[in-house]
């Protein structure tokens, strides 16, 4: 009985070794998919590679010879709910440079409020050249009774803004979302 078993056992061992190598190979392949996918996306431009590249361009050139006027407008959604206004009515800026400004809001109602600002830009064709890196409109704002505060906006105008545009109007409408926020 023992004699014929030996070759079988040797064959088994060889086969098992081969199969274990396959297992390790598959495991390694799973991890290798990570760099393979990034390489694939880079080479073919699939995915958000383009968008990432686009984002970098925005920052690199400040155009010191060009001035753009930005006007700021603030609208409360309903009369008497908020005192809502910009810090400055307009700014003269260079494309490609990062700027800060602020908006002020004060709760005029008898209770605590939750509100959210919805932005709008004129002319609307300029939207894709106007980048807000920070904005109080990104999230809801909570106000206690009678509370008022300054809220930041940071923005940068893309130097590739068409040359026929020299004036942009950024307008915010401040909506009371206390009802819908309460529901959740």
């Amino acid at each position: 009985m023992e004699a014929p078993q030996q070759p079988v056992r040797r064959a088994n061992r060889r086969l098992i070794t081969g199969l274990l190598v396959m297992v390790l190979g598959s495991f390694a392949f799973g991890w290798a998919l990570v760099p393979l996918y990034s390489a694939f996306c880079r080479l073919t431009g699939v995915g958000n590679a383009e968008a990432k590249a686009g984002r970098e361009v925005v920052h690199d050139t400040i155009d010191p010879n060009r001035f753009i006027t930005i006007e700021f407008v603030a609208n409360p959604a309903s009369v008497g709910s908020f005192d809502f206004r910009p810090k400055v009515a307009e700014m003269r800026i260079h494309p490609g440079k990062l700027y800060d400004t602020q908006f002020y809001a004060k709760n005029l109602t008898a209770g605590p409020e939750i509100a959210q600002a919805v932005p709008s830009l004129a002319p609307s064709s300029a939207w894709k050249y106007f980048h807000k890196t920070e904005c109080f409109c990104f999230s809801t704002q909570k106000f206690a009774v009678g509370e008022g505060r300054w809220m930041p906006v940071r923005f940068i105008v893309d130097p590739s803004l068409p040359v026929n545009i020299d004036r942009l109007t950024l307008s915010y409408t401040f909506f009371d979302t206390t009802q819908s926020a309460g529901r959740g």
């Binding site: 056992r9 086969l15 199969l19 396959m22 799973g30 990570v34």
Partner: protein, 525 residues
């Protein structure tokens, strides 16, 4: 391994718990796998009943939405990794040595280990139901970033999946070594029974993709605990990449669950048609080409996620290509029955049920493979209907058919034919009441994985839930039939289905199969 041979020479099974804890006999281990799978089938089934009870009416009745999501996630994990896969491994353990004329599986020690990992893995997985934050609730597909937000259950789920993966890989290695090295002399590969063939190919699929699953869940783990950013966009990673890697495992995984079923059906239909399998060699090539194609179709799970047109076209075509070898198989089974002298014992009923209803699932699969149609169907109940048709009256019916086919060989007793036939008819009626309306719900726009729905979906959901309760209760008959058969009954002959034409070495040994069979290799003519 060194002692495996000596153990195989022990004449009688050890007594008591030791027989099972230290089991190295392929029959004992096969039995344990099958019993484990049956238990998991009822555990996962209970979760399904909770899901369908909640969906009986719109609104929230029984469970809160968080728990509902835990149920859908756990139901899928338990059914896939706990019920279907171990059932096929159990069948492989019992039948592959008997069909090959081998005395046992090639690696009995590893066999013991790969089974005993499973109870640990599932204790770990199921215990997540009791940890703070509850069980995983983001779907069995574990997409980040949602899955990264699971509570304490997260590392437990990942570790459980690692264990299941190790168990399946060891099982697969065992199957391959047994089939390639332990066939009785005079049995060339191409003359091997189709059940063994389907398992050989499945085992290679397991080896190819289970390690990829292990890798991708490990990446989730490191993203969660070690601040890597594989799938975190803020750190330069990409959540979409998870889906690509996951489905590279996931699609072959669905074929891991269906190829052994194909093998079972290819055994049953010829027996009860009293004709050899039509196109047996083409069946082997069909399985092999399905297995190959299953590696290049994963994108069909991601059509709506944003994908270049060329990739959508590629994945659409390759997916539809799978329908060709699948069609060959369905054709060959039908041709085997054509002008056969049919009889309708329970295994044959399940096989015919499989043939009809698996094909319905195949058709809805082809519909889903069409990119423009999938934009509407994906994430809807139509997908739920599709995969349940291929998995329940597909894979699960094949498992039940296999149990009814070989149970007398295992126990030495016939089971109650009336009970088994009742089980078949109730299951078939209710499975259609359960899943067919889900096609309508999906086409009408009902999303999957939701605990509540718009009122216009109420009627079909009620029908579906009634089907679910009926199907669930019918399975108790299955358990009763098995238990009765183990306890006793009319003695089975060696051939069991003597009136039909069962072929294969398993029918040349007495029923019940002796504890040690084919200790000397059989003569093959």
């Amino acid at each position: 391994m060194a002692h495996a041979i000596d153990i195989a020479h022990d004449d009688q099974p050890a007594t008591g718990i030791k027989r099972w804890l230290f089991a190295t006999n392929h029959k004992d281990i096969g039995t344990m796998y099958l019993v484990f799978s049956l238990i998991m089938f009822f555990v996962g089934g209970t979760m399904a009943m909770i899901i369908r009870a909640e969906l009986f009416e719109p609104g929230l009745q029984f469970v809160d939405p968080g728990f509902f999501n835990e149920m859908t996630t756990m139901h899928a994990l338990v059914m896939i990794f706990g019920a279907v896969m171990p059932a096929f491994v159990g069948l492989a353990n019992w039948m592959i040595p008997l069909q090959l004329g081998a005395p046992d599986m090639a690696l009995p020690r590893m066999n013991n280990f790969s089974f005993w990992i499973l109870p640990f893995a599932f204790t770990l997985l199921l215990s997540t139901l009791f940890v703070p934050g509850g069980a995983p609730a983001g779907g069995w597909t574990m997409y980040p970033p949602l899955s990264l937000q699971f509570g304490d259950s997260f590392p437990m789920m990942i570790f459980a999946i690692h264990l299941m993966g190790i168990s399946s890989i060891m099982g697969a290695i065992n199957v391959i070594v047994t089939i390639l090295n332990m066939r009785a002399p005079g049995m060339p590969l191409l003359k091997m029974p189709l059940f063994c063939w389907s398992w050989l190919i499945t085992a290679y699929l397991l080896i190819a993709v289970m390690p990829v699953l292990a890798g991708v869940v490990t990446m989730l783990l490191t993203d969660h605990f070690f601040k890597t950013s594989f799938f975190n966009a803020a750190g330069g990673g990409d959540p979409l990449m998870f889906e690509h890697i996951f489905w590279f495992f996931g699609h072959p995984e669905v074929y891991i669950m269906i190829l052994p079923a194909f093998g079972v059906i290819s055994e049953i239909i010829p027996t009860f048609s009293r004709k050899p399998l039509f196109g047996a060699t083409s069946m082997i090539y069909a399985i092999a080409s399905i297995a190959f194609l299953s590696f290049i179709v994963w994108g069909h799970h991601m059509f709506a996620d944003g994908m270049p047109l060329a990739a959508q076209m590629f994945f659409m075509m390759s997916t539809m290509l799978i329908a060709v070898p699948t069609g060959v198989k369905v054709f060959n089974w039908t041709a085997t029955m054509w002008r056969g002298s049919l009889s309708f014992e329970p295994p044959m009923l399940f096989a015919i049920g499989f043939l009809f209803m698996f094909t319905i699932g195949g058709f809805s699969g082809v519909m889903l493979a069409l990119v423009p149609a999938d934009y509407q169907y994906n994430q809807s109940y139509f997908v739920v209907a599709h995969f349940h048709y291929v998995l329940v009256p597909g894979a699960v019916f094949a498992i039940m058919g296999a149990v009814y086919y070989w149970l007398p060989k295992w126990t030495g007793n016939m089971y109650s034919m009336t009970l088994a036939k009742t089980h078949f008819w109730l299951s078939t009626i209710f499975v259609n009441v359960l899943f067919f309306p889900q096609h309508f719900l999906g086409l009408a726009g009902m999303p999957r994985r939701i605990p509540d729905y718009a009122v216009q979906f109420t009627d079909w959901n009620m029908v579906s839930s009634i089907g679910a309760f009926g199907f669930g209760l019918s399975q108790i008959l299955f358990a009763i039939a098995i238990i009765q058969c183990v306890r006793g009954g009319q003695k089975a002959t060696a051939k069991v289905w003597g009136g039909a034409t069962p072929t294969g070495l398993e029918w040349t040994i007495p029923s019940p199969a002796p504890y040690h069979s084919f200790t000397t290799a059989p003569e093959i003519h």
